[in-house]
Symmetry: C2
Subunit: 455 residues, 2 copies
């Protein structure tokens, strides 16, 4: 609609600067040292919602970080869209690989570089500015609720309780989430599912103190060596996961579904070049899109033990640690896989060492139908601004709360994401294209319009 | 000799306090940030030698840290003992496991807790105080030279050149080293050999940047997973090292030698209890004493990669690192084993990742005969103060310069060590028993007396 476009064109510089302000707050949910920053960020989101024109906005305390709730009710009889997103971000480490400060946003070559620029502050803020656009141009015809949490990156441990106890407050006709990617500005796409997650940490203890590797080396189990053996055994020679029962609940894709997936644009040479690898890796018998979309995985997210400083230290360490996560697909259950994983690790721990394994967080896999009103409205909205219909694809990431939203609120979720896989999410130099940001702000009002018309 | 004992008894408190002063200097040779501390420590050692009564003492510059040289020449016609030791120490990490500051020495239950208390400042300082004792009591009958270096813990990269170019300065009849352990104050022992070392660092790179483990997980090789597989493959199911050629040059011990080794006191239950392990680990077919004495090993000294901070980060890291070392026995050569190790790692690196491997440092294994004058003098000296003859044992640690001393100077080394295996060398809470310190100061003058008489 021209009126939206005109308003946005006139305010684009301010829209960008406001986002940069938000990106300056180091809202890292995983780190206790950022607890106050989390409150500061939640408060900032609330103020921006109020400034954009919501009727009310508030911080809801949890046992962890606060949830920001806001709403603009035009008419209770009209359709209501619940926008979910998160203001927390991943830790920024390794800091030395950032070309600019992770919380000191810069724009280079049309890209906003900052932790959270894409995941998810930038995508959340598109919705705030879309609301402002609709209100300032008198075009909002439906109700919008905002539920912006501060614990998505740590598995949403407190959002479930909030949703379960605030069903009336959150009552809506669909959940709209912008926390995923699209293939490119030329090839719009919509994720039809996200993978689940089981994330654990293990601590392997050999001798009760660090030892001299000469005096004791060869006679006492080295926990790094043993941990390596345990990790190595988690995949067989075809890169299948070896944990008994791991694949039991996986819904195998039909030949038809796989044929459809194979039609999505994919250029292996470009994919490899972007990642800087000579060869890809993965489960035998599946394509890259299948490996990241419809297959579960075990990934090592971190490992440490012994001396990791400059130079050499001849130590046989007491302990070795790893952070291990599984990505899950329907119908794997996060609790079940976490238990399988931990039980399996215990079962392969030799008597020369002791294992402590604990859950960090989990989340269920989720799939959304492509024949829902919400999906159709999203597809039509993207077609309106991109000039072509989006391709449905399966996303590899996880949004822990999706399954719960559907269960508690009885409504479908639609993923209208404007990021790119190459946006360095969870990595140094996270970015968000300025064009994608503006395109999101332009597309979202169409979604509300079409969803209202089609409901 | 009563005159030594009387002098030492009168001065014991000062002997201890002087050592504590030396332990306060953080002379960590591996860390560039401690470069100035190294000079401070070398200067302190020089001043203590002068105060003890050497004719001259000087710092000799090298491309790395300085060497302290000192000498007391009574009569060039008399036998000369070259005392070798080192004033540098291992890094103190992990700092959080120290019960007191590593460079803030404290005495608890008769033990001096500090980095370097046993390895090797405490043992070096015994020789300084023994010299003082002999000079103050007019009992020194031979010549003593001191070569105290600052790079032992980083493989003595510059000492070799110094020895090769200063043969006349270092000319002596034997090398006396106190940088090893004894079984206990009740069971004195003398090491008859030390293992060699090849210490390398590896860097494995997968994707060129850290990736989101959901978006890419399952389709791109995770360098931690691959590194774990490579490390796991270095030992077979019998804990033999799998590197082709690794054992080729190992001189197998004879049945007679092994029978002799089996006579050394060894209490497996006590050994396990001290280390806090349920079961020991090691190469099949060998005893604990053999595993640490006459067999080569591969140890993981450190590993790191991905996110190692608090909480969870769902990253598929770009890189994983490890510090790996081999302990060597006669006649393995350090350069050859380093090359075998690095070549082998390259040969098992899959095309999904790239490997960079580089040498930290190495050292040759060394064995000393038990029929040399120096060994006999050491054994007799220990018998004089401990009341029983020491047992000859093979040490598991490494003193990189030993083989070179013998080659360049054409003289034998004797290891008269007063530490204990349980002194937490290279570990948090390194300690040195005050009694062992005093016993060393008491024993060393006997060595000089007997060596002079027997030469």
């Amino acid at each position: 609609m021209q009126v939206w476009k005109d308003y946005q064109e006139k305010n684009k510089e301010r829209f960008l600067n406001e986002l940069l302000e938000l990106l300056r707050i180091p809202s890292i949910s995983a780190k206790s040292e950022n607890k106050q920053d989390m409150v500061t960020c939640a408060e900032a989101v609330k103020q921006r919602l109020l400034a954009a024109g919501v009727d009310k906005a508030e911080l809801i305390e949890t046992e962890g970080h606060p949830i920001v709730y806001g709403e603009k009710i035009i008419d209770p009889a009209k359709p209501t869209v619940l926008v979910y997103g998160h203001y927390d971000v991943q830790p920024a480490e390794p800091l030395e690989l950032w070309k600019s400060g992770p919380f000191d946003p810069v724009i280079i070559d049309g890209k906003i570089f900052a932790r959270g620029s894409c995941d998810d502050k930038g995508q959340v803020y598109m919705h705030v500015k879309a609301l402002e656009t609709m209100l300032q141009t008198g075009t909002l015809k439906n109700n919008i609720k905002f539920c912006i949490e501060g614990e998505e990156e740590v598995g949403s441990p407190n959002l479930g309780k909030f949703v379960a106890t605030h069903k009336e407050l959150l009552k809506a006709d669909c959940v709209l989430i912008s926390d995923t990617a699209m293939l490119s500005l030329d090839t719009p796409s919509i994720d039809t599912g996200v993978r689940g997650l089981s994330y654990i940490e293990v601590e392997l203890t050999g001798p009760s103190r660090d030892l001299h590797s000469g005096v004791y080396g060869g006679a006492v189990a080295n926990p790094i060596t043993i941990l390596a053996k345990m990790i190595a055994s988690l995949h067989d020679e075809n890169n299948h996961v070896t944990i008994p029962g791991f694949y039991d609940d996986v819904v195998e894709a039909t030949a038809e579904e796989r044929a459809l997936m194979a039609k999505a644009p994919y250029d292996e040479a470009a994919y490899k070049e972007d990642l800087g690898v000579q060869e890809l890796w993965g489960e035998k018998g599946f394509t890259t899109n299948e490996r990241t979309g419809i297959r579960p995985t075990i990934e090592l997210n971190g490992i440490w033990g012994g001396y990791t400083g400059e130079g050499a230290k001849t130590v046989l360490p007491s302990k070795a640690f790893a952070k291990i996560s599984a990505r899950l697909v329907p119908d794997q259950g996060s609790d079940k896989i976490t238990k399988l994983l931990i039980d399996h690790l215990h079962s392969i721990t030799p008597a020369t060492v002791t294992l402590k394994a604990s859950l960090h967080h989990g989340g269920e896999p989720y799939m959304t139908p492509i024949d829902s009103v919400a999906y159709k409205a999203a597809a039509k909205a993207m077609e309106a601004t991109f000039g072509k219909a989006p391709i449905p694809v399966r996303g590899g990431g996880s949004i822990p709360i999706c399954a719960l939203f559907e269960k508690e609120l009885g409504i479908k979720i639609v993923f209208m994401g404007f990021g790119l896989d190459s946006d360095n999410l969870h990595s140094p130099n996270e970015k968000f294209n300025v064009d994608n940001y503006y395109k999101g702000i332009e597309t979202i009002p169409y979604f509300h319009q079409y969803f209202t018309e089609m409901s």
